[in-house]
Symmetry: C2
Subunit: 200 residues, 2 copies
DNA sequence: AAAAACTGTATCCTATAGGAAACAGAGTTT
DNA sequence: AAACTCTGTTTCCTATAGGATACAGTTTTT
């Protein structure tokens, strides 16, 4: 080994709050059984860079992390959790039938489900859509995210941009981009009941 | 203004594939009605840095982006979408009753819903849980993410780590951390039917 | 309408991110 | 056991991230 006469430049232990980022990546890589070389090639980065990232010896760019998470099929939301907050880890929330949290609007009767878990990512609720005429429709509902709906009872028509009205009845389900303008109207004599799960 | 004799170093238009990252951040900041100064202070970064990020003139570190997304209450998964793939934007997927894609396991009869939309983030399916004795239970199901379940018919018992068995019947709902070991057994004479929505 | 207080952008500079290559250690092969 | 071939780590270097500051444009105050 050759003599190193230079002043030692210290850059150790960056990790501060970013915390277990490197560890997460190392686990994901090893779960795939990949070497630094292989993972680096898949993500388009050098193995030295990857080594430093996994050992928290650097503060990688977002771009690098994005490429890595793609290559390793990683679960990205976890990476954003700072030490302390850990989502709903190890918890569950039970709501008996009809015991959700009511929330009414002029058009809908909502029953929010599992509201004790405030940090959950999906938002489940049951809506009672009041029977009414199609002419009452006013404006699109539009909000970023994705939504899944399942018709519990009754009949309704789902209307949205880019598509023609879709008649639905009990047992039917639908998944859609909620940033696309959308809305529901009951087309049965009685109210229709729908289970919704909204993301974001 | 003084004469600039240096060779112009060009660093414009980094944006390459990272794409609309800066735009997303600008939108989130403006949605909060914040100036660069305010948002920067909330995230602990300088306004000049933030300006460059929003205009895609730099390739920010993951750490910076994490601080920003926290301060701005941003929805992080979107940021990981690269330019080509845009989720399910502007699309919807309808599945009539009983027309899901069947997928059976020894214990469950699954019917996957809305399988045409492959890039959706939530995974909805209906499971028929075969009536059986509690003694048949073998091992925990465990996978990262969150799950919501809604009992459509029949009765069952949900069992999981950290908790005691939970009897559920039609109309009940449950939200839980799916990394926590869990499982279901039917406790009614006939099979129980459950609607599940799984996230990641 | 000048002065002042804002806004977001552009410039300058230093610490460092990330690639190339050297290094070190553990198996393999000849 | 020496020569190869892997692994992951460390060193070296250049391009650049991000803060400080100067600049420019717009609105508010005196």
């Amino acid at each position: 080994m050759r003599e190193d006469t230079r002043k030692k430049i210290t850059t150790p232990e960056i990790a501060d709050d970013g915390a277990a980022l490197g560890q997460s990546i190392r686990e994901a890589r090893q779960a795939k059984g990949w070497t630094l070389e292989e993972a680096g090639r898949a993500a388009g980065i050098g193995r030295s860079t990857l080594s430093k990232i996994e050992n928290n010896l650097t503060r990688p760019s977002f771009d690098i992390i994005r490429r890595l998470t793609q290559a390793l099929d990683m679960h990205t939301p976890n990476l954003f959790l700072q030490s302390g907050q850990s989502g709903i880890s190890g918890r569950r929330d039970y709501t008996p039938k009809g015991r959700g949290e009511p929330k009414d609007t002029p058009t809908y009767l909502h029953e929010l489900l599992c509201t004790d878990l405030t940090s959950k990512r999906m938002l489940p609720y049951i809506s009672e859509i009041k029977a009414r005429d199609i002419s009452e429709f006013e404006t699109w509902i539009r909000h970023s995210g994705e939504e899944f709906m399942y018709v519990l009872s009754g009949e309704l028509t789902f209307i949205s941009e880019h598509y023609r009205p879709l008649p639905m009845k009990a047992g039917d389900s639908l998944y859609y981009d909620s940033s696309m303008g959308h809305g529901c109207i009951s087309t049965s004599a009685e109210n229709a009941r729908v289970l919704w799960v909204s993301l974001e």
